[in-house]
Amino acid sequence: MAITKIAQVNVGAGGASSISFSSIPGIYTDLRLIVSSRISSVGTSIFQLIINGDNSTSAQSTVTLEGNGAGSIASISNSSIVYFANLGHVPGTDTGESTFNNAVIYIPNYSYWTNKAISVDTVTENNGATAYQGIYAGLRADTTAITSLTIQGQGNTLAQYSSATLYGISNTGATGATVS
């Protein structure tokens, strides 16, 4: 089977400032991180990703496309940013009971000697007129293998039942087609 669950984190009753995966083994080809998150305060926060604990090197850039379900759609380009600071929205306590953001982060060739391209899709549930859906193209201009991933909500506490599951996807032992 090409896909393997590496680890899962579930936020407990006390909440958490972030969700982190460290010491990620380099034995897979791609990583797939699936996140469900909510903050424990009022308001909507921003979904953020930090790679290898690096929040100071201006190696990141993004192109984003986001709609809010209320007639607004926008595309933004950011370059030389110190981490992926805007990859969607995380709902807070004023968006209704049990509403969470859902995000899928795909990082191909995460341990290769090349720069790292990242694909992100996020949606934010909201029992109201405004909710967010976005797609994001990211680049980390760093050839170092990725060994840790941190999810955070712009400094806000992640609420209980927020969770993240990291999968490794492997292309070794491929059989079933010929390629040239």
Binding site: L65, S119, G138, T178, V179
Partner: protein, 161 residues
């Protein structure tokens, strides 16, 4: 999900997956790379069908300043960027295509894709190949005809029912 075949290329202009097993329900093709010169958008052709008009594409695109939606007919599964291009020679990009019910012979083929170039565009796309033939060959190429950059990788996965 099962890996069917994978390749790392050095400047070639096409990648072809052939003799694809029909034992799965859907296929996922993952590409990471860039061009070896200039710009180009990666796309697919099925079973060596290069007929213009046999492929329809619907693209939702953000280019960093505006959002657009376009539809087009083409000679392959390509995003329609209105003359723009996704991949370039300096920035690594990603492409994933989900090819649904690829071996069915009672329906035309639907494809969903996410194509990214972090320096220029982010897209979500829906495509149709107007053939009921089972897909046994997939050719990946750049719309511009340029070659793929060194170390570009392509992996085909089978997803069971």
């Amino acid at each position: 999900m099962t890996a069917l075949a994978t390749i790392m290329v050095f400047g070639q202009t096409t990648v072809t997956f052939s003799s694809i097993s029909s034992a799965f329900r859907d296929l996922r093709l993952v590409a990471v790379g860039n061009t070896n010169a200039g710009v180009g958008s990666p796309g697919l052709q099925f079973n060596n069908d290069t007929t213009y008009g046999n492929y329809q594409n619907l693209t939702l695109r953000g280019d960093g300043s505006s959002a657009t939606s376009r539809a087009s007919t083409n000679a392959g599964i390509y995003p329609d960027l209105g003359g723009g291009d996704l991949w370039n020679s300096t920035t690594v990009g990603t492409c994933t295509w989900d090819i649904l019910d690829y071996s069915a012979t009672n329906k035309q083929k639907a494809v969903l894709s996410r194509l990214n170039s972090p320096s220029s565009n982010v897209t979500a796309n829906a495509h149709r190949w107007s053939s009921t033939a089972a897909i046994s060959t997939i050719t990946v190429r750049l719309a511009s005809g340029a070659g793929f950059g060194n170390y570009s990788t392509f992996t085909l996965y089978g997803i069971p029912a």
